[in-house]
Point group: C2
Chain length 219, copies 2
Amino acid sequence: MPAHVDGEQPPSPEPDSSRDGLVASAGHETAGRLLLAAVAAFAERGFHATTTRDIAARAGMSPAALYIHYRTKEELLHQISAYGHRRAVRILGDASAAGGTAAQRLARSVTAFVRWHAEHHTRARVVQYELTALEPGHYAEIQALRRRSGEILRTVLEDGVATGEFTVPDLRGTTRAVLSLCIDIARWYDPAGPDSPEALGELYAQLALRMVGARDSAG
Amino acid sequence: MPAHVDGEQPPSPEPDSSRDGLVASAGHETAGRLLLAAVAAFAERGFHATTTRDIAARAGMSPAALYIHYRTKEELLHQISAYGHRRAVRILGDASAAGGTAAQRLARSVTAFVRWHAEHHTRARVVQYELTALEPGHYAEIQALRRRSGEILRTVLEDGVATGEFTVPDLRGTTRAVLSLCIDIARWYDPAGPDSPEALGELYAQLALRMVGARDSAG
């Protein structure tokens, strides 16, 4: 396994763009720039080692300018986390609701979820690894979104079992395993490596179909 | 999905034990206590937010007492990471070399790897998520151990393909996916939850057999 494949990579900055959903979620261009700066800082040094001063400096602003938009760094983390988790619910919800067989819905859901984690691996890492730094109320809100993602995927697996497409001895554990496999992409993904988000989505859709014992998937 | 299943859990301290391999790897009881204190501190606040003073305080020592054993906190991280990665190579090497069919060797390897990540989820998280904080020489050493783990598992998959037991269109990607699925356990595992390391090992062995298209594994 080459180093770039399973190695934890230094976080790479993601391109700033006015069409970026995270930036747009801030509702204000300056606030959006601060969210991107916070993602980069949290990914590089961790939430607890980052100060609001660090974030302001990365965004080319004064700490006072930051405080106009965010009172604390936890508020920035919450915004990033809530955006990421709402995206996950939307991605899985759209992909699983688009019709077709359970196998088609599972493949579509996994492909979309994988692509998001590969394309946004730096922010996905922040979203996934800094949860415990959230305030209790924010943590509870995010946990509800995580449960919702799990329920959406579990319904696809249940539907496949009901139609006889899938054979799943442990629905809860297998649903969690499929999500876990996709989420871990954020840990090791390297955009400079050989795997495009699209190719990875295709491979993982096939692996997920095998995990649920989809008919003919092992052939 | 209940909160304890996919929620990132507050790190729980692992039981100190003189029979603990990490403690023993320090070669000295006091140094071993410092390693356990460092694991707890890094897991809770991240490497960059932790000071050697924090680690010494957790171990009930003065910073001066710490410096007798470790000059820097990076030295502590390196010791923890090297121990964890050597364990991984040993676990996979022993399990895959113990004979039997490729399916038996894969099942045994995955079961053992899963159990280690569940039982030692806090230190596994430090080992997996703080790699980029290592000095270049240490980082290269750990990357070599990671490649070795990947090669061991890949050989099992190759053997299964050679004997016709497995059908694997993408050997590199599938090997990485099986390891990734196991490693991500460190992120979400909760010892207070319903999943014992043994039950999880059994489920994941079955899922891995499906991922490699093992004959009869989907039935």
